[in-house]
Symmetry: D2
Subunit: 404 residues, 4 copies
């Protein structure tokens, strides 16, 4: 057992920290300014492109992706880098071409794509030239139960015809977004886990109607292409657009989830660290009733509890990454579910306390904490509400005792 | 001891419930549509004016105000009506001319205004013709400690000259807002509680610079005039604009707070009831893993805990109103602080669970719960963060034992 | 709506407070000494008899019982008195002949007993000459579901024959305990709510085997007759011992529960107040790191939160009592369940914080808080675990929306 | 970074697990029986001696102690073994001669003892022939602030004279306990951290008055020598009995704490695992309202949350052990404080839920959970209340930002 990062990780952490300090944090106010000024509410501020170029020139590019096309890192090596990017969640992941949902989509194409699919869509994604969306969740059903998903993908000759309604398709409002991976039913009569397929749908295909952007509290997340509601009406794509094969949708979704949860969890830790830092800075700079707010016992409890929570959570996420690297996603199932639940819980707790420590400014646009909260809060729901994962985890725990 | 509402209260509750059912709830989607379409982001949708007219014609007008100019109700009689308006916080309080901060400002003018001040400002407020703002909190200091407030109000001949910076001046972004009550220091050398004064400043006075609207978790609250940051630079008003007298600011602020806390607390209960209702409706209409979400034990716990919390909180707020009516605000000091802390705590807990029960929709614009959360969350901070009130409450509790 | 106690209540509260101050609190150390010295671990210390005599002479006797045989008080009038007795839960309820389970048993006999049953058992209970036990919970089944209860009560000629095993029969270890009310199945084939009956079984009946006393976190509660495990083997009693009639057991249990929950809840409030007082006294008398513990912000939060929780809870319990008086137990069903859950929750939270504020002494015999904790903790389980009541309460809440 | 135990650890875990299964768990009911029957309430049941002999014969002896006299293990290697012993906290640590406070005392003597002190006291402790106590906490002061400790150790010629009062001297009630390490002031005028010294005091020295055993809730912990209150009145010991030197008390106390906290924390994890196992077994074996309690959603949440909490906590404790091994106790200061706070918090939460899942049995002597709770609850207080450690941890966190 060894709790030190390996040399490659330390080297990259150093480089990334340097990049954050020299480029990311100083770009945050510029980003905010450009946000205010842009005309299309779904376009990203130009500073992001500058940061992408800089990051790429430093070799901080596609680090999330194992193998030759990416950083060639293990999950355990990438995890601490994902944490660092979480400290500036609107800029850093995009700058490194490591932003969801592109990361998951690139993983899917790397693992399951045909050579033609890779050339057409994976390559420009890896280059950061286009963005993509993942169309899974539906407004009409509890989508945490994948068998509820009702979008139809029906074969008609050499084409598939897609009909259905999706929402929370993150990034899809952006004009840069060119391709969707859509989950839907090819065979409703098949076994529960073989009904679903995934298929590539160009954003500009006839019958694709991008209806509106969903809000997260009052945010549109416009700079990252928002979260779209999309209607698919008799959308036709060639049969070659199917990913892997008919009925493989559920298995692809499972494969996509593992690394995604590590990324989300580590970014949430970075967000928690950022919030804790903001809290500490704020309370040391304000005075009420004759003493610094930092001297208030209650605030000190928040700070201590924050640190204690973060240290525990980070180790669990790193162990999960290590398990995925050593015994595979299936062997890490319990831990993957545990961090899905634990990470948003820690993050929202800490960020909420940071908001409180900021006074009125905490809920406003003047400090990062309110937006961090909204972002973290959604992760209690994204990929299925916490409760679904807890129930599944409990079933596995209980099973240990049933056979005895 | 008697827990039944009196006849007058029951009558008004019936009338208000009828009005909510027939006019307020059906207007909510119209309000949302008009919001989308309006040009000035700080103007209120026209449906509000229709609702005001209807409410007034039904005698549901200025009910918050005791005495002949208002509904003539006690705090205890008005409280359950405030709860009902909290069920639709963007429409109902405004429709009844019972929205903050106008309510508090009208109370101040009723209690402390000169006949001329009343004629010029109270009358149009009572008529619902204009709106007003209350400029207290400052960005540069922890304003929960009123002695920190640093805006200067200096006499110069027959005028007062005002210099300072305020934020969270709710309503001030609206073109309908015509008058500010500004808190500031007239005599920094005086006793801690005699340094501050309140003064009337027309919104269009030279030197008043309305800089921007503060956001609340991405929301601008634009339909109610937002929350402004305002700079006062050598703003001059006649000496007659002082309220009550120099040095009375702290006392007026105290007098303003009592009823305001009852109103906020009761509206938070209404918001909690609305969220609980939304949660119940949502979970009975969705199925996951083969059964209704309403059949999940965890969701049932949330519902039961919500009901248990609401019932306790409501009684404490009503008792506080009764104490204010019978022994005065000072005698109700402990209870006023208790509800300041307890009400947002109950409301944010319930609304957060309601969000979770909604799945992804919960954080979006499609259900009221996300906006309710943002609104309720601010009340952990407005009028001073919870922690300040708890500390003061604890001091009073501890004092019981110090002398023994 | 009126939050003031009526004159009779205020008078009795004054008398009881005076009795607590002059007799109960000063007797607590004597009680502890006598506990140490007594030979039979299940006998009560003699000071209790002295206190009973004194209380009775002051008219503070059987106040729990409505009607001519008791104090003639409403639930709402008795509730605040029950709270006061909870401040010294080992002495005060017994001194006033208002201790569980005798109170519930006397209520049952008053409501459902035959004249003969009343003469033989109710009379000496009312006189405080004997004590009684209530044998409901069984070790072998989840007894919160009354239909699980499996003790058999079978008619054989002019006798009933009882076979089964009970535990948590409080008071039954005491030599003063003379009579049991036993719940069991007379007709397993009947409707779910008509299978059970209640029957009177003298403690010295042949076949009654009092096996042992159950512990509560190491405490035996010996001074009040402990909590017995009892085996009934072919125990025979005359048919006249049935209470009300065959099949009435469930209904009697329901009738017994309502007032019992008010009593428990109000005593828990008294226990909470005692713990809060102990916490305040302790923290004002200790110094660490250069300042009084009372000056620590965290401790102040505990104190404020305690006060805020108590005030809300008390009002809900009083309202529940008022509902029982005005619309009956059935109309107060939701509230009765709410206080069943809320009261132990508030009490264990406050007492736990009081323990923490005491340092090491908090868990010891030197301060009342550890024993208060153990007592309060059991009430999350007694009369069914909280979760059962929450589920039932949630079902009622959800039902409001099902029909719409 | 590597999350696998090394080979030596795995080997010992296997051996210890085998010993737990074959000897410890089967001895638990025997232990309970012998407890009931023994005459001296402060003597340990004879089964412990049998287990010690067996454990020693298997090489499972003094594993806590680094170096040649003990198991020669690192903190990281011993930690998972301490966890296993925590699963049966009354038997396993004692059986392995790894029970507090002997462990800490043996560490102190190993590190700071003179050859004579080692021969006289360390040797028989290592042999498991005698037991020892650590007399630090005092009833009259908040002992978390070591500078409050007021016991005097005054030199008088070739002797030290000790006067003072201690409590919570665990183990000191036992007739097997032969030696105390006493903390007291040798020089009140010295620097805050140089006033205190530690000295060896035989339990049978004249002037040592062992007054009574402190209770923990209702438990006496008699089988392990209880927790004594001790009066020292003019107790004289030779000057050779001082440990290390005058003024070294504070430094020795610090050195003693580090490993002790690892041990406590890991045992708490073992206790948590035991409670979780008990909860799972109980809920799968009981039925209420027509389904197994294990199928209740709320219980599943408890189980999932328990597992999620344990996994995080364990990693933090292991990392702390690793830090102590690699950078020393000082470098692990933050983590040592974090686990001091986190471990009891996780344990009491889980055990409390396990109690609830057991129904009435949960608070009784029939299941291990009530005793586990009492034990775990004390660790929120032992070695200083959580709040003291949180404050110190927060200060260190805040210091990061003060200099920037």
């Amino acid at each position: 057992m060894d709790f030190a990062f390996d040399a490659r990780t330390e080297e990259l952490r150093g480089q990334l920290t340097e990049f954050m300090d020299s480029h990311i944090y100083p770009s945050e106010p510029i980003f905010e300014e450009q946000l205010e000024k842009r005309e299309n509410p779904w376009e990203q501020p130009p500073i992001i492109d500058d940061l992408k170029q800089e990051a790429r020139s430093r070799g901080l590019w596609n680090l999330f992706l194992p193998g030759e096309h990416g950083g060639g890192l293990t999950n355990l090596q990438y995890a601490p880098l994902a944490e660092l990017t979480g400290r500036s969640p609107e800029l850093a992941p995009a700058a490194l071409n490591c932003a969801a949902p592109d990361t998951g989509n690139m993983e899917v194409l790397t693992m399951f794509g045909t050579p033609a699919q890779k050339e057409q869509w994976l390559q420009p994604l890896l280059e950061g030239e286009i963005r993509s969306a993942f169309c899974m969740t539906e407004p009409d059903v509890a989508s945490s139960d994948a068998s509820n998903i009702s979008t139809r993908i029906e074969r008609d000759g050499n084409e598939y015809v897609i009909n259905g309604r999706k929402w929370w398709s993150s990034g899809a409002m952006s004009p840069r977004c060119k391709i969707f991976i859509v989950m839907g039913k090819t065979d409703p009569s098949s076994h529960r886990h073989r009904q679903q397929s995934m298929i590539l749908v160009p954003r500009d295909a006839p019958g694709v109607n991008i209806k509106r952007g969903m809000h997260v509290f009052g945010y549109t997340d416009g700079s990252h292409g928002g979260h779209a509601e999309i209607e698919f009406t008799d959308v036709r794509v060639p049969v070659q657009n199917i990913i892997s094969g008919e009925g493989d949708g559920f298995a692809i979704a499972q494969a996509r989830l593992g690394p995604g949860r590590i990324h989300h969890a580590m970014r949430l830790i970075g967000m928690s660290e950022r919030a804790l830092e903001a809290m500490c800075r704020r309370v040391t700079s304000r005075v009420a009733f004759g003493k610094s707010i930092a001297e208030q016992g209650v605030v000190q409890e928040w700070i201590a509890d924050s640190r204690i929570k973060i240290e525990q959570l980070r180790l669990l996420v790193l162990k999960t990454a290590w398990l995925m690297d050593t015994v595979g996603n299936k062997g890490a199932h319990t831990e993957i579910q545990a961090i899905k639940v634990a990470a948003p819980s820690v993050a929202t707790w800490i960020i909420d306390r940071a908001i409180q420590a900021h006074g009125g400014g905490g809920v406003s646009q003047d400090f990062p904490v309110a937006a961090l909260y909204a972002h973290a809060r959604t992760l209690h729901l994204a990929d299925g509400p916490d409760e679904v994962h807890k129930r599944s985890l409990a079933h596995r725990e209980l099973r240990k005792y049933e056979t005895r």
